[in-house]
Each structure stands twice: as C-alpha cells, then as structure tokens.
C-alpha cells in the first residue's frame, strides 16, 4: 500500500468540480469564450468549395495507445466538424495518418461527416491515407500531397511533433489557409507564425468540447475553470509558505500514506 494522498485528493477534486459543472450546465448553458479557429471552419471549407480544392487534415504522430490518447481524441472531434463542413459544401477531404488503429475510426468519422453534411456519395475510403507507422513517411507524404494538390485548407491538430513544421511550412508556401493546434509547446511558435487560426496548449482540449456545442460538454470546461482558481490559490499558499522559509508545502504534496 502506497497511497499518493495529495495527488489523489487533487484528482478527486478536479473530477468532482467537472461533474458539478456538467450537472449545472444541464440547467443553464454556460458562457464560453469564442474560439476563432472553430468559428471559421465553415468559412474556410466554403472557400475550398469555391476554389474547387480539397481539405487536408492530419492528427500527427500521436496515437490512441500512448500518453497522447486524450489529445488525439480531441483532434478527432475537431476532424468530425471539418468532415461535416466538407459534406455540407461537397469538398473532398484527405486525412494522412500513421497510426493504423486510427484508420477505421477516421473512416467512420469522415463517412459520418459526409452523411450528416448531405453529400454521402462523395465519401470514398481513399480519403484516409495511411503511410506506415513512421513519422518520416508521414512527413514526406504530406509534403508531396500539399505541393501536388495544393489543398485550400490545411489542418494539423493533435499530439504533433516535427511533422507540424513540414505540414505548416509546405502549406504556407502552397498558400493554403491553415488551422493548427497542439498542446506540445515546442511547436507552438511555428504554428502561431504560419497559421491563420491556431489553438494554443489547453485550448485544443477545450475545443474538443466546445466544437460539439452540447451544454454538458461546455459544463466540463466550466468545471475546469473553477479548478484553475483552486490551483491559483494553491500557488499563492506555496509562495507564502516558501517565503516564510518552511518546506511544508513540499512535504504536503509529497505526502504518501501507508
């Protein structure tokens, strides 16, 4: 027995607050700050329809089997929104991927998007392009595709690594409208520089909820915000305690029972 008390309490408190947020949201829909990246999906895909070009999407290096599963899930939720817009305007979509277990999921999401959007006949299984399990293969495939086809909209969301640069770099040269977002800090400055609409850090997770527009999803974002207030309070306590010259806070968070 080796109970991590402080971590467990933090985790339980976070879960409780999110649950309360969701429960409250069922009565009154909470306000959520607008995300320009999500609001312009329709406009961008509409532009693609005018130009007669495609939409390229990628969830990057992360899969569902590793520690990046939550980000990938959020990225797939955003992809669902793009697929719906593509179905609405009749724009072909292409999804590049290096995780074979995502292939069937992505096929389902895109098919569902075209079905609900109103152009079910446009969907083909070719829209998901799997390029082996390796990152370099994905990079070269994306570079080639973006330069050959010049998609009107180029997106990369999720747990992305170096392929971010290949995607947004080629996209910037090809003149695509770019959407990107990742919680991986290292690539955020590049995304901010080259993309028209970016999601920074935690915004990707929140966007996964906001994109659905369902009240209970928004409620979870509300719960998270309350937890952040607690975090700020904890930081203040930590500052006071360490300025007073004690290490009580350090001992508190490392407290292990059993």
């Amino acid at each position: 027995m080796h109970v991590r008390v402080f971590e467990l309490v933090t985790f339980a408190l976070l879960c409780l607050l999110i649950y309360l947020g969701i429960a409250r949201a069922k009565k009154t829909k909470p306000y959520v700050r607008p995300f320009p990246a999500l609001e312009h999906i329709d406009e961008a895909v509409g532009r693609a329809a005018e130009m007669g070009k495609s939409v390229h999407y990628c969830t990057g290096w992360g899969g569902l089997n590793d520690e990046w599963a939550p980000v990938t899930t959020a990225a797939l939720a955003i992809m669902g929104e793009f697929a719906k817009a593509c179905g609405k305007y009749g724009v072909p979509m292409r999804y590049s991927c290096i995780r074979s277990h995502i292939v069937p999921i992505a096929e389902d999401i895109i098919k569902f998007g075209y079905d609900t959007g109103g152009h079910p006949e446009m969907y083909t299984p070719d829209m998901v392009y799997y390029t082996s399990e390796e990152q370099r293969a994905l990079m070269s495939a994306m570079m080639g595709y973006i330069m050959r086809e010049r998609p009107a909209v180029n997106c990369i969301f999720g747990a992305t690594k170096y392929e971010t640069i290949h995607s947004v770099g080629t996209g910037a040269i090809a003149g695509s409208m770019q959407f990107a977002g990742t919680p991986r800090l290292y690539y955020l400055p590049i995304i901010l520089c080259t993309c028209d609409y970016a999601l920074i850090g935690e915004e990707v997770y929140a966007a996964g909820a906001v994109v659905t527009g369902e009240p209970h999803q928004l409620g979870s974002v509300r719960g998270v915000d309350f937890f952040k207030m607690i975090i700020i309070a904890l930081i203040a306590i930590s500052v006071i305690l360490s300025s007073a010259g004690t290490d009580w806070f350090q001992r508190l968070i490392e407290f292990v029972a059993g």
């Binding site: 082996s132 400055p189 500052v239």
Partner: protein, 233 residues
C-alpha cells in the same frame, strides 16, 4: 603494416554505397526546386521501406509476445484476452459484427488515456505547484517572483468560461505577454538544434564521390530551369 589494414578494407566498398546515399539525399532535396518525379520517387521508396519495416516489426512483436508463448504452452488469461481483443479488430471487415472492433479500440484508448492521466497529475499539475521564496537572497528572490507571476497570469489567460470584464481582459493580456516570451524562447532555440541536419547533409554531399552526383544534380536543375524559361512556363 598492421596499422591501416582495417581502414582500407572498409573504404573499398564504400565508394558506390556513398553514391547511392548521395542520390537518395538529392532525391529528397530536389523538392526545394520543385515537386518533381525525383521527389515522388524518393517519397514512395521511403514510404515503401517504412511500411515493410512497420509490418516486419509487427510480426516480430507478435511472434515474441504472442506466438512463441502460445506454442510453448505458457498461455495466461491476460494473453488469451489480448489475443481475442486483437482479432476483434478484424471484425471490422465482417459487417454483422463490425461493432465489436470498437471494443478493442476502447481498451487501447483506455490504456493510453490512463497512462496520460497518471502521468499528468504528478508531472504536469502537482509537480508544478511548489514556488520559490520571493525573499530569497540576491536576484533569486526577484526571479522567483517573476516565475510565480508568469505562471498565475498564464493560467488566467486559459480561463475560458468567465465573462470578459475589464480586469480579466487585462490580466489575460498580461498572461499572453508571458506566453509570447515563452514561445519566443522556443523559436529562438529551435534553429540551434535543427539547423544541424542540413549542415550535416551538405557536408556529406560536398565530399568527393557524392560531390560528383551533386554536380550532376545542379546541372540537371540548371538545364531544367533554362528549358522552362525558353518554353515560357
């Protein structure tokens, strides 16, 4: 006499290998000029070999972890369950039971998400809480103060569901200021760690056997550029 024997032997068969390597590198670098058949060739060779490698590794893992224990009779409940879940992936190709493939995905995502959550609590949340003393000696106290302030205001920037009052707006702006400094640091250090790849490749392409291939490639590009100019495209 003894001294250079080894060196020479490895050198002899290196010549044509170096040329093959140079050709491969230049196939990829031809993209800098235009997306052409050379780049497409490199791209598809790359994907082909990597696909072979992925499948090879998959077979390797399955042999070591699944089939060798199966054949030697060490079948545990866990192994049996994982094999069943593995085969459930393929129910996707059988329409009436295709829903079962989602079970495997659910288990897979469950593992991944749990690893993510257990890693996040300590490293990303609790571990980031302790702050340094603001009254520490010398510049350290001031630095600790700056760090705490930056952390708090960045968190404020990521508050999504509060109505934008003037106070919140200006706090968020201040948070964004710190975010941008953080991104600037990332952008500034990015070049140092990544510029090495093209420099290393340029060095290889400029050493003799590869240099000849490089010269041929440059001539080809020049000829193509000239031809296109004359043709007027």
């Amino acid at each position: 006499m003894l001294k250079s024997r080894n060196v020479r032997r490895s050198e002899e068969n290196m010549e044509w290998v170096l040329i093959v390597e140079a050709v491969m590198m230049l196939l990829i670098w031809s993209f800098l000029y235009r997306e052409s058949l050379f780049y497409r060739l490199g791209e598809h060779i790359l994907i082909g070999i990597y696909l072979g490698f992925s499948i090879y590794m998959g077979i390797d893992v399955l042999l070591k972890r699944v089939f060798v224990p199966l054949l030697s009779g060490n079948v545990t409940v866990g192994l049996a369950l994982s094999i069943i879940l593995g085969f459930l992936f393929y129910t996707r190709y059988v329409k009436p039971v295709s829903f079962m493939s989602r079970w495997s995905v659910a288990v897979l995502t469950g593992c991944g998400s749990a690893v993510a959550v257990s890693g996040a609590i300590k490293a990303m949340i609790v571990g980031q809480l302790p702050q340094g003393s603001w009254f520490a000696e010398g510049i350290t106290g001031f630095n600790n103060f700056v760090m705490s302030i930056a952390t708090v205001f960045v968190i404020v920037y990521f508050l999504f569901t509060f109505k934008p009052t003037r106070l919140l707006k200006s706090s968020a702006k201040f948070g964004r200021f710190w975010l941008m400094i953080c991104f600037g640091v990332m952008l500034g250090t990015f070049l140092l760690s990544n510029i090495g790849y093209p420099i290393g490749m340029a060095m290889k392409l400029l050493t003799p056997p590869a240099l000849y291939v490089t010269i041929i490639a440059i001539l080809l590009i020049a000829a193509d550029a000239l031809y296109r100019r004359i043709k007027g495209t």
